[in-house]
Amino acid sequence: MNFDVSNLYSATAEIFVAIMVLAIMLATAFARSIARGLAYSFVQITLIVAAFITYFTLDAGNDFAFHNMFVHDQPGGILKMMVYLSMMVALIYGRGYLADRKLDRPEYYLLSLLSTLGMMVMITANHLLVLYIGLEMMSLSLYALVAFDRDAVRSTEAGMKYFVLGALASGLLLYGMSMIYGATGGSLELPAVKEAVLGAKNGNMTMVLLFGIVFLVAGISFKLGVAPFHMWVPDVYQGSPTAVTLILSSAPKLAAFALAMRLLVGALPDLAGQWQSMLLFVAAASIVLGNFAALAQHNIKRMLAYSGISHMGFMLLGLLSGGGTGYSSAMFYVIAYALMTLAAFGMVVLLSREGFEAENIGDFKGLNRRSPWFALLMLFVMFSMAGIPFFVGFFAKFSVLQAVIHAGHLWIAVLAVIMSLIGAFYYLRVVKFMYFDEPVNNTPLKASGELLVMLSLNGMAIALLGLMPGALLKWCAEAMKVAFTVSG
C-alpha cells in the first residue's frame, strides 16, 4: 500500500475541519477566560473556510481517494456546502438562546463542529465502514448535544432516548452492511458492491442481499426520522434545548439523505425495485402519520417535528421515483427543507427569552402586532412548508410530484396532495395565531443584530428561491446526473 499525496487534495476540507476541531479544543482549554467567544468565532471561521475549500476543490467529475474509500463528487460537494451553511445559521440563531441559559460553553461549539465533520465523512464516504464511522461521529456528537442542558430532566431524558434508539439504529445499519458484505463476496467499497450485485443475481445471494437492504432501509429511516422509525423525533425535538433542535432538524437530514443516496442509489441501483417498494411504504406512512399527528399538537416544537416527518416522507417519494428527476428532486427537497426548518426553529428561538421557552403555538399569538417583520418572515416559512407558491417549498413539492407522476405512481401523488391539504391546516393555524389573534403578552421582541439579519436573510432566501428556483434545481440535477450517470 503506497500512499499518494494527491489523495489529500480531495479530502482537504475534511482534514482542515479535523485539524480545526483539535486546535479549537486546545485553544479553549488554555484560554478559559475567552473560551466562549473564541470557540464560537473559530467554529464559524472554520465553516466558512471549509465552504471555500469545498467550493474550489469541486471538479466536474468524481475523484476517488484513499483506495476508493472516499469520493469527491458534485452532489457531495453541494450537500457539504449546505451542511456548513445550516450549521452556521443554526449556531448564529442559537447563540443568544444559549447565552441566556448559560449553556454557551465551548464544548457546545466543538461538538457541533465535530458532528459537522461526521456529516462530511458520511457525505463523501465510498465505503461501508467509512460511512458508518461518519455516521457514528455525527450521532455521538448529537447525543451529547441533545443532553447538553444536563441539569434539565427533559434534556437528559431526550438525550437518553435518542442515544438508545440511535444506537439500535446504528446496529441495524451495521447488521445490514454485514449482510451486504457477506452476500457480495466481501465487498465494502460501494462501487464494488454495485459490481457484485450486478454480477450475481441468483437466488440465495439475493435473499441475503434483500435482508441486508431491509436493515439498511430501517437504519436510514431512523436517521431520517420517518415512520415507522419516527418515535424519537417529537420527544427529542421537544426535549432538546431549542438551539440543539435547530441543529438536529437541519444538517443531519442532509447527511441522512447522503446516506440514503450513497447506499441505495450509489451501491444498490440494481436492486432499486426492492428498496423502492420498501421506501414507498415508509414514505406513505410518514406523510399520513406526520400530517395527522401534527394537527393535534399544541407544542410548536412537536408540531414542527411531525411536520418534519411528513416532509422527509415527501422527500423519499422523490428518491424512490428514481431516474434523474427523482434523485435530484429529493435533493432539492431536502435542501429546501433545511432552509425552511432553520427559519422555523429560528423563530422559536427568537420568541424564547431568558427564563421563558416559547413552546406553545399560542406563543405566536399576535406576532403581527408585536413585530410585523418577523410575522411576515414566519408567514413565508409557514406557507413555504405548506407548499404554496411563490415560496421554495412549492417548487420542492412540485419537483417531487413531477418525479412521482413521471414514475407512474399516480395514486401516491393523489395521496400526497391530499395529505398536503391536511398539512396546510396546521401551518395556516400558526398564521392565524400570528395575524388574526391579539397578542397575549406585549413584551417587545428583542433580537440581537445577528439574529435579525440572519433570520431576515433566511426568510428572503425562502421567498427568492421560490421566485427563481432555476439555478439550484439545475445544479442538483446536473450533479446527480454526473455522479450517478442516471438518465431522464
Partner: protein, 501 residues
C-alpha cells in the same frame, strides 16, 4: 414579438405587487395616510398600464395578441416559461381587475383604521397576482399565480373580517386549495404526456378519452370550487359574510371569475370530448345553482349572504353558458362575468356603506333608508335592478344572451334558466324594498347621513360602467367575437381528431 410596445402585461402584474410591497414598508398606522395615498397611486398606475392593452388590442386577431405577448424562460429545469399573453377572452378581466382595485382602495379609505398599510398591500398584491392568472400562458405560471392569490385573501378575511372570520378564512383557503391541488396534478400529468407546460401546446394535443375524463374531473373540481358551483359553494357565503367590504368586492368581482376563466382556458379546449360527454353534468349543476340557490337567496336575512348566494346563482349562468358549446352561450357567459364583476362589486359596496354607519347587515335592522339617504337609495336601486337583470343594465345583456343560446339547445334548459329572471327580481327587489322603502325603521336609520363625496365617487363610477355596458355592450363583445369563434372552431375541429376507442 419584437416590437416597441412596452411589456404592459408584466407591468400590470408587477406594478401592483411592487407597489404593495412599498405600501407595506410604510409600516405602522401612524403613517396610515401615507399608506393610503401610496396605495391609491399604485392602484391608479396599475390600472393605467392596462389601458394600453385595450388600445393596442386588435379585435381581428383571434388567437393570442402577438404584439402583447411575452415569453421568457423561467425555470429551465422544469421546462417552465414566463409566458404571458391575452386574447379577447382574457382582455377585459385584466382591465376589470385593475379597475376594481382602484375602487377597493378608495372604498377602504376611511372604513379601515387598523393596519392600513397591510390592508392596502394585500389588495394590491392580490390584484397583481390576479392579472397574472388572466394573462399566464404557461400552466405552471398560471398555477403559481392561482394558488398564491389565496394568501392575501386569506389574510384579508382573517384580519379585517367579522366575528366568525377565522372559520371563514380557513374554509375559504382549504376548499380552494383542495381543488387547486388536483389541478396541479393534472398539469403535471399533462406535462408528462405532452412534454410541455405551454397551455397553447396543450390546446393542440389530442388526448385519449380515458385521460380526458380524468383531466376533466380534475378541472371540474379545481375550477368548480372556485366558481363556485353547487354543491361546493358553501365556502362562499361564509367568506363573503365575514370578509371586510373590500374583500367581498374583490372576491365577488374577480376571484369568482378565476374558476370560470379556467373552464374556458383549460377544460373546453384541452379536453373537448370529455366536456361534450359530461355536458349534462355541468349543465345540471349549473341549473341547480340557478334555480335552487335562487330560492335559497329568497330566504336570506343577511344582506351580504343574500348577495353572496345570488352570486352563486349568477355564476351558475356562466357555467351554463360555457357548456352550451355555442358562440352565443360563451359570449353571453363572458359578458355575464364582466357584468357580475361590476354589479356584485357595487352591491357589496352599497352594503358596506350601510354597514359602516349602522354596523349591521341584517335586513331587519333597516327600513326606510330612502328617507335619510336619498342619493344612496338611488344608486342602490340601480345596482339592485342590474342584479335582477333589468334591460338597459349590464345584468340583462349576459343573462339574455345565455338564455337565447340555451334556446338553441333545449327548451327545458331555457325554461329553468329563465326562472332566474323572476327569482332574481324577487329576491333583489324584495330586499331592496325591506331595506330602503317604508317608514323609518328605527333610530339608527333615522340618524343616518347620506353618502359623502368619496362614496358618491366610487358608486357613480360603477354606475356609469353598469349603464354603459347595458346600453352599449359592443366594446365588450367586439373583442370577444374572434377569440370565442376561434375557440369553438378549435374545439370542434379537435373533437373530431380523437381516435375511436
Amino acid at each position: 414579438m419584437t416590437t416597441d410596445i412596452p411589456p404592459f402585461l408584466s407591468l400590470a402584474i408587477w406594478i401592483p405587487i411592487l407597489g404593495g410591497l412599498l405600501v407595506l414598508a410604510t409600516g405602522p398606522d401612524t403613517n396610515a395616510r401615507m399608506a393610503r395615498v401610496a396605495a391609491l397611486l399604485a392602484a391608479i398606475l396599475g390600472f393605467a398600464v392596462t389601458i394600453p392593452l385595450y388600445i393596442h388590442f386588435d379585435p381581428n386577431i383571434a388567437a393570442i395578441q402577438p404584439h402583447l405577448e411575452e415569453n421568457r424562460i423561467w425555470i429551465e429545469h422544469f421546462n417552465v416559461n414566463y409566458h404571458l399573453g391575452i386574447d379577447g377572452i382574457s382582455l377585459w378581466f385584466v382591465l376589470l381587475n385593475s379597475f376594481i382595485t382602484v375602487i377597493v382602495v378608495i372604498a377602504g379609505w376611511e372604513s379601515i383604521q387598523t393596519r392600513v398599510a397591510q390592508y392596502m398591500a394585500a389588495f394590491l398584491i392580490m390584484s397583481g397576482l390576479m392579472n397574472g392568472i388572466f394573462s399566464a400562458l404557461d400552466g405552471v405560471l398560471f398555477y403559481v399565480f392561482f394558488e398564491a392569490s389565496l394568501i392575501p385573501l386569506y389574510l384579508i378575511i382573517g384580519i379585517w373580517g367579522g366575528p366568525n372570520r377565522v372559520y371563514a378564512a380557513f374554509k375559504f383557503f382549504l376548499f380552494t386549495l383542495a381543488g387547486s391541488l388536483l389541478l396541479l396534478l393534472a398539469l403535471i400529468y399533462l406535462h408528462d404526456k405532452t412534454g410541455s407546460f405551454e397551455i397553447l401546446e396543450w390546446h393542440k394535443t389530442v388526448l385519449p378519452m380515458g385521460v380526458q375524463i380524468l383531466m376533466f374531473f380534475a378541472f371540474l373540481v379545481a375550477f368548480g370550487v372556485k366558481v363556485p358551483m353547487w354543491p361546493v359553494h358553501t365556502w362562499l357565503p361564509d367568506a363573503h359574510v365575514e370578509a371586510p367590504t373590500g374583500g367581498s368586492v374583490v372576491l365577488a368581482a374577480i376571484a369568482l371569475k378565476l374558476g370560470a376563466y379556467g373552464f374556458v382556458r383549460f377544460a373546453l379546449p384541452i379536453v373537448p370530448n370529455a366536456c361534450q360527454e359530461f355536458t349534462w353534468l355541468v349543465v345540471g349543476l349549473s341549473l341547480v345553482a340557478v334555480v335552487y340557490i335562487g330560492f335559497v337567496v329568497l330566504v336570506q336575512t343577511d344582506m351580504k349572504k343574500l348577495v353572496a348566494y345570488s352570486s352563486v346563482s349568477h355564476m351558475g349562468f356562466v357555467t351554463l353558458g360555457f357548456f352550451l358549446h355555442n358562440q352565443l352561450g360563451i359570449e353571453g357567459a363572458l359578458v355575464q362575468m364582466i357584468s357580475h364583476g361590476f354589479v356584485s362589486g357595487a352591491m357589496f359596496l352599497c352594503i358596506g356603506v350601510l354597514y359602516d354607519r349602522v354596523h349591521s347587515r341584517q335586513i331587519a335592522d333597516y327600513g326606510g333608508v330612502v328617507n335619510t339617504m336619498p342619493k344612496f337609495a338611488a344608486f342602490f336601486m340601480l345596482f339592485a335592478m342590474a342584479n335582477a337583470g333589468l334591460p338597459a343594465t349590464s345584468g340583462f345583456v349576459g343573462e339574455f344572451t345565455v338564455i337565447l343560446a340555451a334556446m338553441q339547445k333545449s327548451f327545458l334548459i331555457t325554461f329553468l334558466a329563465a326562472t332566474t329572471l323572476i327569482l332574481g327580481a324577487a329576491y333583489t327587489l324584495w330586499m331592496y324594498k325591506r331595506v330602503v322603502f317604508g317608514a323609518v325603521g328605527n333610530e339608527k336609520v333615522a340618524g343616518l347621513t347620506d353618502i359623502n363625496q368619496r362614496e358618491f365617487f366610487f358608486l357613480a363610477l360603477l354606475a356609469v360602467c353598469v349603464l354603459a355596458m347595458g346600453l352599449y355592450p359592443f366594446p365588450f363583445t367586439d373583442v370577444m367575437h374572434a377569440s370565442v369563434n376561434h375557440l369553438l372552431e378549435h374545439v370542434n375541429g379537435k373533437m373530431l381528431l380523437l381516435p375511436p376507442l
